[in-house]
Symmetry: C2
Amino acid sequence: MNAHPLNTHPVLAEATRGGIVESFHRGALAIVDAEGTVHTALGDIERPIFPRSAVKVLQALPLVESGAADRLGLTDEELAIACASHGGEERHARTAAAMLAKAGVDVDALECGAHWPYNDAALKALAAAGTQPTALNNNCSGKHAGFVCLGCMLADGRDVAGFLRGYVKPEHPVMREVSAALQDSTGFDLSATAQGTDGCSIPTYAIPLRHLAHAFARVATGVGLSEGHARAARRLRAAVAAAPEMVAGTGRFDSRVMSQLRERVFCKVGAEGVYCAALPELGLGVAIKMDDGNTARACEVAMAAVLRRVLPLAGDDAALVDSLAQVTMRNWNGIEVGSLAAAPALAGD
Amino acid sequence: MNAHPLNTHPVLAEATRGGIVESFHRGALAIVDAEGTVHTALGDIERPIFPRSAVKVLQALPLVESGAADRLGLTDEELAIACASHGGEERHARTAAAMLAKAGVDVDALECGAHWPYNDAALKALAAAGTQPTALNNNCSGKHAGFVCLGCMLADGRDVAGFLRGYVKPEHPVMREVSAALQDSTGFDLSATAQGTDGCSIPTYAIPLRHLAHAFARVATGVGLSEGHARAARRLRAAVAAAPEMVAGTGRFDSRVMSQLRERVFCKVGAEGVYCAALPELGLGVAIKMDDGNTARACEVAMAAVLRRVLPLAGDDAALVDSLAQVTMRNWNGIEVGSLAAAPALAGD
């Protein structure tokens, strides 16, 4: 039973109750610079893992680089939501719909599927209105709207809706562009690695944490990217910093961090316990994968601890990140029952 | 970073996507008989862990043993919900309310706090009606209604509402009875172990998996329990088998298993990745704790794999448990993207 290939990963986050560790999360972490030098490696950073939604900014590079964003006059909010896993709030649905309108199509063009908003108030508002969610409420609708806008450019005069059909398939021209950007920025051969299907139906490719962190260092600096991708990365980082509520939503980690730290951090969550970040002032990229796939709690406190440790932070910046690195857990009566925190070694204690 | 005291636990469940293990869950497992003989031990089964809601049947023993259940004429549904972590569906709220009425009090007596129903349809129905949840929708409202009924008996002529106040505190006569039953059935000294506060505000005590599994073997057989507790355990098992939808709810693991297998299995989930089960025909108790606290997916497939391995099952019984031990994961478009299953060694492959 103990002979699992993945048995050496350190504990990155712990939940404490009644003075003891109740649950704990193991994982791996890479911090890499734009030259590819590994600054920190915890656990196995060479094993390919599915980055899921953590790489949306890499998948959005062609939207800007192709000229589609300029041609359609995409706003900061629209570019930010192209990199987002959002809560399906009304403002998110409206922004994604506006992108589709600019591309000359409507919600029927989206191939991500529909689900109820992740944002609790948005879900209850839809239920109270007696309506059903659409693909616009899907947390990936902005990314897909970005694919649609890219497709509108690539259609090159052909019927856009017809051209777009099947854009989630690996062999479609849109997805070929998206995957090429992923391969170029990570420097990892996607043709030779495991390929799965993501929640929103596009392909996801298994990539080592070292390569993911390297890609985010490139996004942070532009170094090692083509001129077009470097410019696109800068534009996307600026857009998210200007409209951080679009990349996640009310009360969410990524939106809170970037509302406070703006362009000092670009961070992005992915399903199954993945987190990536670009830190421009340090020229570093960060990539985390929790063994157990726990995103909401384990990854967030680990990422907050990394930010606190490597970035020089003070005042409100430090206070926010501290509050995200050690979270008090309260029960239904508001009584403090425990805490969630990065493991001592990760937090630098 | 690797010197965590809990670094030897085996992988019990795996999530697979694109042909590779995407995420995996480590944990510990004990299977013990009523004499205390350990039949299976995976990981550290001597480390005290918080059993959370997995021990509700042990905490309900005084409700029956005291005579309160008989005096108030509690039904199978009411006894079943006293052992439940339910979805807050209308039928659950109604059943808990009926228990309170029998005790001569109302929802104001409940000290578990209010939260929105865990059941998705119930949550949306409340939102659509423009109403707020009450403590009756709390997943623990049945357990607390059971405490209230016990308190009604213990009040012994005093004003019930006044006597009940503060029943969630360890030193209240109600909670003293409940904790004594937990100590008696597990054979573990609760005065010398870590004590935390549970989500519903009652104390939770850290108890080793070996003791928890032993307690469930006692519940399965009556052996090693007082005559009163043995009778109470039989009554509660029968009640849950007769009204399995009360112990969890629509589509939930415990309700599905017990709707099919009835008294052959008593199983109960607890927060932070805990599962316990009593298997009367084998005279065994089972206790599982996932390191990472993942309840919904990791624990369920592990428990299903244990049931499949130790119980002689055929036909629909085998089919149901097989379907719970290996779960196909689909995305928002209904496309199969992976599977969740017990680790090969646990599944007996």
